[in-house]
Symmetry: C2
């Protein structure tokens, strides 16, 4: 077999059976190899940002990596923004990037660039296979790197001659790196802190946002009086009726500072201390009070659920201490004007149990939690790295990871335009996704920020860069142009009608919600 | 004033009065500064690939750089593919990339990444401004770098606090680096070569592809018997009736090798020796015969037109030696089936004098020259770096550089999908662009390459990655969804009717040519 076959076999042997792809000529031998492996599901994205964003969404829900297939430096470059988000989410992901044949590099052909240098900023692990014989063990090393907690982005560069040359190397097995457990001292320090009488914030992220460990965290909070909170943006959290009642750190710096002003100590559980998404003149970078003590129960790459269980035990929390769970009680459907709140209320009212909600609604989604704590239990996936254009692709990946579950995309219009090509993948793969476009026809968050800068009302040049009108985007036509059925709502009743129909149906549907 | 004002003033002072932008919060002070400068034309792209591709197209036609405005690492990453093309075209371009405030980096906020490392592979010059006082001289250095022949990509990173802090630094003037002229020895060597009786190829690129120097090159070829040829892909060439009859190096490796098999020596004029776009097993990387001598008359960054003039003089070529020019004689309009040849014939028949043709038609455009040598004189801009997604943005940039000239985009469907957001910019800026989509509904070039690999007929997985059908893209709806009028043609007569109407009208129009 050749190196390309060796790579495909290694992926399959190690449980990677989905490949999100946009190949080029230099990857044609790998395409031919995949063509010989019907066990591999190959999914085309019409732009590489779709490919990497889908791989991110897939792995968040499948708890295992997908592979991507990208074409040389520019193809990788197009996928970097969503790799950045994946990296911030702690997503396991294996990028396969084709390169020119090793002996062709001397010619500096038109598509040549420094792929390793491009990959490094957004990858935890980067390696170029030297030859066909090295491909399988390199791929296994990539998979191991991807599996390393909390989940890493591994980029394997495959020169064309490493793909097409023959090899009889064995197919390598990737290890599953153990997730390190925290030291007893960290548990003891947290116990002491929770008993020292200070106002404590328990900030819980990563795998500790799944339903089980969150209940443990909630019981700890209930027993000790600590406040429980999730980071502002998270790869995946389990929430809704019957699950822990949980809020997140607020995005806007002034509100966040006010909200956290009384915190005397924070205990981090697989989470980072909260900082401003951006810096603002005269405002602090950390969201915590200056004299707030910061303890780390578990680092991002450590076993947070285990640490919480041991902490609960060390605190001798009795069975009588219950987690604070959301009671069932989905909201009623809204009527009247179509606002972000009305959309949240409608989604909260109508979403089925087991739904997967992918949130890239930016400003429009800031109030989403208020209306959905008591909605049917669901997964909630967020934009973790701030690189817009993750939403539409990630819904595709989530739908592929979880057939039979309804996926709901909460999508800002400006962000949606970044990777709208994903809608075609929704259609081709007949994915069960309802996309809700919050059509406010501006980069609303930037209009806010311009005000914060003290620039007053935007003039012509600022409006030229912040508004999405003149002309308005017609999302119904855009969706239909890629084979996705779509409708437009301009009031809450119309939105509810469309959402009901979309949730009842199978396959992709897009609702342009004019707000 | 603050650093942002200083930057805007420096750009304007040095003749940069167009800024293609997609800003974010960290660039808001620069947006506010631009809002105070109505002399700057700010043009929004709904994705950064649109921004950089437009800046490339603009500078190719304006012969001076535009500025871009990009948001942090991910915003830059999204623009890298078209920076790669610009770098390969020898395009002058000044990227402004915002960054977090310097003191905010300690927090590793969600959007943080290594911007310099991301920029370096696709930039000739990269620098981060240390503070507001340094911004103007840094910007002038960036402009000088961009102006350095043959044109370079300069990336200036602007930390938010360098933008918002006050400065009283002077506004710096950027030098215009002289284009080095070639040494007399290079002229003498070329004279000797052209007189040694060998079969000679004169390969002419860069600024030597403008009408004047091309005539000199043609006269040299006519006088010496050398064969005149252009590289396969070029940033800009002036062609059509009354201009030099010129072919390009062939893209497909086998055809190129056959075409060049008799060449005994090549003289490079601001061009690189032709190499395979990709490597293929068992085929050479260079397109020249193994024993072909390679002489360089002028390097890419040297003054090719001057070198040609001096070479003609040194060869004592008399006034009686005329350049070989295309006679007027545009083709008639086609009828019958709609094929790439019919499209070329129709465009050749109907395009007005001074049209700007931007070619990203990939396989569909391989025969375009055949039908357009005698068309009205026009500029021809190509995909120079092979990173698809340059076409629709570059037409926008060209139209902004040259109001009053008709821009015609020859656009493959697969490539067009990469940056289709550019159509919205066509609509918002009311640009006079006719976009022709070659709707063959596949990555046709890759279907060819899969055959070359010897993989035979594509199976399910290969088709999943190479075909763009299931569902077909509806380009008419996609265009209308972004405010661009559009129509579909399925035969040559229908295409001619639509093209005539589009060329007669003003403003953007898209024709989906189903081939």
């Amino acid at each position: 077999m050749n190196g390309a076959d060796s790579l495909a076999d290694t992926l399959l042997h190690n449980g990677i059976d989905v490949c999100f792809a946009n190949p080029g000529t230099s990857e044609m031998h790998f395409v031919a190899a995949l063509d010989r492996k019907p066990e591999m599901r190959c999914i085309l994205g019409l732009f590489e940002g779709v490919v990497t964003g889908a791989a991110d969404g897939y792995a968040r829900m499948a708890d295992k990596p997908a592979a991507t297939l990208l074409h040389l430096g520019p193809g990788l470059a197009n996928g970097l923004a969503n790799l950045h988000n994946a990296r911030r989410a702690g997503t396991p992901l294996v990028n396969i990037v084709g390169d020119h044949a090793t002996y062709h590099k001397q010619y500096d052909a038109p598509l040549q660039s420094d792929i390793e240098e491009l990959a490094r900023p957004m990858s935890h692990w980067v390696h170029t296979s030297a030859n066909a014989g090295a491909v399988s063990r390199d791929a296994a090393a990539a998979i191991e790197a991807a599996r390393t907690a909390p989940g890493q982005v591994a980029t394997l560069i495959l020169p064309a001659d490493a793909a097409w040359s023959e090899t009889n190397a064995d197919i390598a097995t990737a290890r599953r790196p153990e997730v390190p457990v925290v030291a007893d001292a960290a548990i003891a320090a947290a116990v002491a802190a929770l008993r020292n009488g200070r106002r404590t914030l328990l900030l819980v992220g990563g795998m500790a946002l799944r339903a089980g460990p969150l209940e443990t965290a909630s019981r700890i909070a209930q027993a000790t009086g600590a406040r429980l909170l999730a980071p502002q943006a998270n790869g995946r959290m389990e929430r809704g009726a019957g699950r822990v009642a949980l809020e997140r750190v607020i995005y806007r710096i002034d509100s966040a500072l006010a909200d956290l002003q009384d915190v005397e100590q924070v205990i981090l559980v697989s989470a980072k201390a909260p900082v401003g998404f951006f810096a603002y003149p005269g405002k602090p970078g950390s969201m915590l009070p200056g004299d707030c003590a910061v303890l780390t129960l578990s680092e991002l790459g450590e076993d947070g659920p285990d640490a919480l269980a041991r902490l609960a035990e060390a605190l001798s929390i009795g069975r009588d201490v219950r987690a604070l769970l959301n009671a069932p009680g989905a909201p009623s459907t809204p009527t009247g004007a179509l606002t972000p709140a009305a959309i949240a209320q409608a989604v909260g009212a109508l979403m089925p149990e087991g739904a997967i909600v992918v949130d890239e609604s930016v400003t429009s989604g800031f109030g989403f939690f208020t209306h959905t704590h008591q909605a049917a239990p669901h997964d909630f996936l967020q934009l973790t790295g701030g690189a817009i254009g993750m939403g539409l692709p990630a819904t595709a990946g989530a739908a592929i990871a979880c057939p039979g579950r309804k996926v709901i995309g909460l999508q800002a219009d400006g962000s949606g335009m970044y990777t709208l090509q994903a809608l075609w993948t929704h259609a081709r793969e007949k994915l069960d996704i309802v996309t809700i476009i919050y059509a406010n026809r501006s980069y609303a968050i930037l209009r806010d920020e311009l005000k914060n800068v003290g620039a007053g009302e935007p003039g012509e040049n600022a409006r030229a860069m912040l508004d999405l009108d003149r002309p308005n985007l017609d999302w119904v036509r855009l969706a239909q142009g890629m084979g996705v059925e779509a409708g437009r709502a301009t009031d809450a009743d119309g939105f509810v009608t469309l959402l009901k129909a979309a949730l009842r149906g199978q396959g992709p549907f897009l609702i342009e919600a004019v707000i």
